[in-house]
Symmetry: C2
Subunit: 269 residues, 2 copies
């Protein structure tokens, strides 16, 4: 395995376990059969995979028959563009955003949502099976990104409900443990309630998944839904609330820091 | 057991199993040790429990030492008022709203959220244990209603996320079964996703829990949160969307009919 990243220090644990360091994405790609990419934004994806036309991109450095798996949460339209650009060079480009966080990645328990060519997906599956436990091929290029948008839309609504509910409970003077006992077993149950409510109640707002990443994801959902002629007011509200966190310097906290944005609000009258 | 309800037909299964019919709440209450009440709105609660001062209410008909358990989802402030009025007559009034729906009620698997005097709660517990499997005493009168408000706030956010996500998935052309496989095992998981998404996907919008009841509950959450100086934009959005359903004659459908309100929306530009 050959690896690179902007902050070399972060690759050290892999190097110590036998991975070889390369100086650039292009150097990683030379001679590779499969290249995995996981970066920050669609702009980063474009730069790393497509490059600038002077040989800096993964796609330019790969031989025909190779495959790229982009694990970044990015836009369906960019995924489709890169798949087309790859096909022209005989390289398969799969979009494969993940859910499950740093814990899921460490435990190889990720949910991986895949879009792209079926033959390439089947060829990459043994590798994907080493990374996750829910590997679903959703359709052509971009479909994985759409599935991830669905995932983040679900999370957005649940997080709003969770944080408003806990702020209400606190203000009403309820005992948090008693409330969680009452609401956890029924129609209000969720992964977020089980996993994030205890952290909120102990004022542990460390990520998990950082606010600034979620803001990027919500922006993708809003752009895509608007493009499809949809109006999603819950995602819009989540976007507004999470941007309020970023504006208050809380972008590096976990998504459950949304309680702070709710606590800051005051009634209109 | 002595029972009454406005629509006598609905009591028939209980009568057939040995319950005795009474013509009014006051007649039910004469000689009773514990009276359970479950009606529609706070106004109904006021009418049935407090009555009109001419002997029509449960409270007026009970002897000192008796208890009233109000299972209705109502306001914390009314619960406190009725508990005070009861105390003046030596009658304990507990607020005990439930979660778990008609299925939970039939299977004695309700979550019951209780506010009121501890001695009375302990005295009623053997009876409550026959009705639910999660029986939590949250504190003084009104606390049970506050806990139920917390429950409905969680549900409101989750339902918005669920319905927006499924509308997005449909519009993006994703296969619903594949999407549910991808998102059900991780951070997007919820009771609603597991139990209501399949009904939405098969276009089964029957309640479960009816929209018009949820609108009543959301109104209580909004009134109480506003009284406490809180602004809960997610609950406000849910209230707006569910009122849209009522305005379209869909108040008798289940809460998951929220997909219809999302589908009807069009982008602002």
């Amino acid at each position: 395995m050959v690896v690179t990243t902007r902050t070399a220090e972060r690759a050290r644990p892999l190097i110590e376990r036998g991975a070889r360091w390369a100086e650039s994405p292009a150097e990683v790609s030379a001679g590779a059969l499969v290249v995995g990419v996981m970066v920050g934004t669609p702009t980063d994806v474009q730069a790393v995979i497509a490059g600038d036309g002077t040989g800096t991109g993964v796609l330019e450095a790969l031989a025909p028959g190779a495959a790229i798996i982009d694990f970044t949460t990015s836009t369906p339209s960019l995924a489709a563009e890169l798949a087309t650009a790859g096909a022209e060079r005989g390289v398969s480009v799969l979009d494969a955003p993940v859910s499950g966080g740093d814990v899921g990645a460490r435990n190889a328990a990720l949910s991986i949502m895949i879009g792209g060519d079926t033959v390439a997906v089947d060829r990459c599956r043994p590798l994907l099976d080493r990374l996750g436990h829910t590997i679903v091929h959703h359709g052509p290029a971009g479909s994985g990104q759409h599935a991830k948008a669905v995932n983040q839309t679900l999370v957005a609504g649940t997080m709003i409900g969770l944080c408003e509910a806990l702020v209400y409970a606190h203000r009403a003077g309820l005992d948090p443990g008693s409330v969680l006992a009452s609401v956890s077993g029924g129609a209000a149950a969720s992964w977020s309630l089980t996993n994030l409510a205890p952290r909120i109640l102990s004022d542990d707002l460390a990520p998990g998944f950082a606010v600034r990443h979620f803001v990027k994801d919500l922006g993708i959902v809003l752009a895509e839904s608007s493009r499809m002629g949809l109006d999603l007011p819950g995602v819009q509200l989540a976007d507004e609330l999470y941007r309020d966190l970023v504006a208050h310097g809380e972008g590096e906290l976990g998504t459950h820091a949304l309680v702070r944005a709710i606590e800051r609000r005051v009634p209109h009258r």
